[in-house]
């Protein structure tokens, strides 16, 4: 399976796929940020990836484009899995929402917004999902202070 998806995507999106690798049958493609919706629509409609399993992000503080948003897709029909990554700069951390294609993206994207502060353009209800509204900052960013606490009830000490 590992030699099926990547060549097909590279052929179809030759100047959009920036990078790819395959590890023990798990295939990953890194694509251009502004082509996300286009690629995902193709994945869903033409390659059978009807299930968006997960959306998450990674913070790489040293990189030119600091964040990576990671999508995991699964195809029930073909039993294929695919990981798609987009690189997002810190200066404008915004990604197109996948809500038009998969409704299930709703809470995943809210979680990524909550933890990393990455905005999802076109999301209908982008607000924190895990942390409370008064919370300041984004706790899974590497520069969030390890010991910082933001209690809702003031602690006596």
């Amino acid at each position: 399976m590992s030699e099926v998806l990547i060549p097909k995507l590279k052929e179809k999106f030759s100047n959009i796929v920036l990078d790819s690798h395959s590890f023990r049958g798990d295939e990953t493609v890194v694509i251009k940020l502004d082509a996300l919706l286009e690629v995902c629509k193709y994945l869903r409609d033409d390659m059978g990836f009807e299930f968006l399993m997960d959306v998450t992000a990674v913070d790489y503080p040293g990189r030119e484009k600091r964040f990576e948003v990671v999508y995991h897709f699964y195809s029930f029909i073909n039993n294929y899995r695919l990981r798609v990554k987009v690189r997002v700069p810190e200066s404008n951390p915004a990604v197109d929402s996948l809500m038009p294609l998969w409704s299930g993206a709703n809470w995943f994207e809210r979680e990524v917004y909550d933890m990393f502060g990455i905005r999802f353009s076109g999301h209908p209800d982008l607000r924190r999902i895990l942390m409370y509204d008064e919370f300041v900052g984004y706790p899974l960013r590497k520069d969030y202070p390890l010991r910082k606490r933001q209690p809702r009830i003031p602690h006596p000490d």
């Binding site: 895990l130 942390m131 409370y132 706790p139 969030y144 910082k148 606490r149 933001q150 209690p151 809702r152 009830i153 602690h155 006596p156 000490d157």
Partner: protein, 159 residues
């Protein structure tokens, strides 16, 4: 028997604290504030094998207004903290709090941005139970400790 013989067979004399505390400590109505996996162990204490009913504390009240022991069972995060405080404030005096498991006691290994590092930062605690999760024996031990503590209190003094 001295004085009591003057009143016939149906009257005994005792201290007010002794009588009231005896009644209180053997009829705890608990409010289980269960947030995490410790709840499994708590259910085990409840069920027939360990049988917390032997100590008169088997009756859970899911309204804080009817409870007098608050069992905080599991991790309490900052988002949940105002809820816990509100539940505690709604309980009538006299009331006691048991911190069940290491997460409620100190945050446990959740030493992070989200977790309250011990519920005693929010509400007063009478008995702490260590363990992740505590064995049912430890819970029963804590309950007996709480009974001892209650028996030392005075009904005329505010806690």
């Amino acid at each position: 028997m001295g004085l009591e013989t003057l009143f016939g067979k149906s009257i005994i004399t005792s201290k007010l604290d002794a009588v009231v505390n005896w009644a209180r400590k053997f009829s705890f109505f608990q409010y289980p504030f269960v947030t995490a996996c410790c709840g499994m162990e708590f259910m085990s204490v409840w069920a027939s094998h360990y049988d917390i009913a032997r100590f008169g504390a088997e009756f859970p009240r899911f309204s804080p207004r009817q409870a007098d022991v608050l069992f905080v069972v599991g991790t309490v995060n900052e988002k949940m903290a105002p809820v816990l405080k509100r539940v505690y404030d709604q309980m009538c005096e006299p009331k006691w709090v048991v911190s069940f498991g290491v997460c409620a006691t100190s945050g446990g290994f959740y030493d992070n941005y989200a977790t309250v590092q011990g519920i005693d930062k929010i509400i007063p605690v009478d008995v702490y139970i260590p363990g992740c999760p505590p064995r049912p024996e430890a819970v029963l031990n804590a309950l007996i400790r709480l009974q001892e503590k209650v028996s030392r209190e005075s009904v005329l003094e505010k806690k």
